[in-house]
């Protein structure tokens, strides 16, 4: 039996199909979840996909965070269910205070789309166990509000506890503090990052790399062996 990975569609979510495809390619059973339903259809893990939910109006993720599906997700995440937030999903997780800090407009004020190099700083989370600690990967990045900020104390804490999960390499594309590309919660089940692993799962499309598949194989292994 394989694991069921749910992908939430909010109004304005864009990368839900890609996340479902990535889950399928990794061998999981992809399940679509709808923002108005509190019911998670018995999924084992949830991906909050990228896009512009509610147009990114007010603040990216600010409106989605209050949707019915999030009520259940917040509750379940606190109880240990694995949740991965990609881009807009990461923004939703910070707005929901499942992850600390906040996401702001890129420091150069433009949308940026590029092939981005990252270092996996924590290979111990639910979503990164298939990577080596310190492994360098390259996946697409595309965002308008990708600048990660938090106060110094929080940043120090994140560093000290190894909760900076990914760091930008070569170039910081949006002004994120301490080159942070993604973080995890204390328990390691909730992970958020700006770049898009779900766009790097097939050799031909996008940038032609498959460096992102590891997120989905990591969680699958964890769930199936659990």
């Amino acid at each position: 039996m394989t694991a069921r990975i749910g992908v939430v569609t909010f109004p304005g979510t864009l990368d839900d199909q890609d996340a479902l495809r990535a889950a399928r390619l990794a061998g999981a059973e992809p399940v679509s979840l709808w923002h108005r339903d509190k019911d998670l259809k018995q999924v084992d893990a949830v991906v909050l996909a990228g896009g512009f939910s509610y147009g990114d109006y007010l603040r990216a993720g600010a409106i989605s965070r209050f949707s019915p599906v999030m009520e259940t997700i917040i509750e379940q995440a606190k109880a240990g269910m694995p949740v991965l937030g990609i881009c807009n999903g990461f923004q939703i997780l910070t707005e929901a205070h499942l992850l600390p800090g906040a996401m702001l407009r890129n420091n150069h004020l433009h949308f940026i789309c590029r092939d981005q190099k990252l270092r996996v700083e924590n290979a111990g989370t639910a979503w990164t166990s298939d990577y080596e600690q310190g492994q360098e990967i390259q996946v697409p990045l595309k965002n308008m509000d990708g600048r990660y900020v938090a106060d110094e104390r929080t940043l120090d804490e994140l560093e000290a506890e190894g909760r900076v999960a990914f760091r930008y390499l070569d170039m910081n594309p949006n002004g994120s503090l301490r080159d942070i590309a993604g973080i995890t919660n204390e328990a390691g089940n909730v992970v958020g990052l700006m770049p898009h692993p779900e766009h790097a799962v097939e050799p031909l499309v996008g940038t032609g790399r498959t460096d992102g598949l590891g997120f989905f194989t990591s969680i699958l292994k964890k769930l199936v062996t659990a």
Binding site: Y54, Y57, I63
Partner: protein
């Protein structure tokens, strides 16, 4: 140093998708009784030197030509007094 605030809002007849999205979300969050929401920009300018007529005229021009796009936006210029609970003048 004095502070001048320029508020820029979409003209009333122009679609404000952001304000609409906020308004539509409010009842879901349990906030009723808000008939309309418009979202605009607020610029806080710290001015060197005195905020006299001439300075205000320049800021007005700056708002008109740069801070606001008067094809779709209106603006107001106010001098902010030192206190937070300040009076405002146009």
């Amino acid at each position: 140093m004095a502070r001048v605030v320029v508020d820029v809002m979409l003209k009333p007849e122009i679609l404000d998708p952001q304000g609409q999205a906020v308004q539509r979300a409010l009842p879901r969050l349990g906030f009723d009784g808000i008939a309309d929401v418009r979202q605009g920009k607020r610029f806080e300018l710290e001015v060197d030197g005195p905020v006299d007529e001439a300075a205000l005229a320049r800021i007005h021009e700056m708002a008109e030509t740069f801070l606001a796009n008067t094809v779709i936006e209106d603006f107001t210029v106010k001098v902010e007094e030192t206190s937070e609970v300040a009076g405002a003048s146009k």
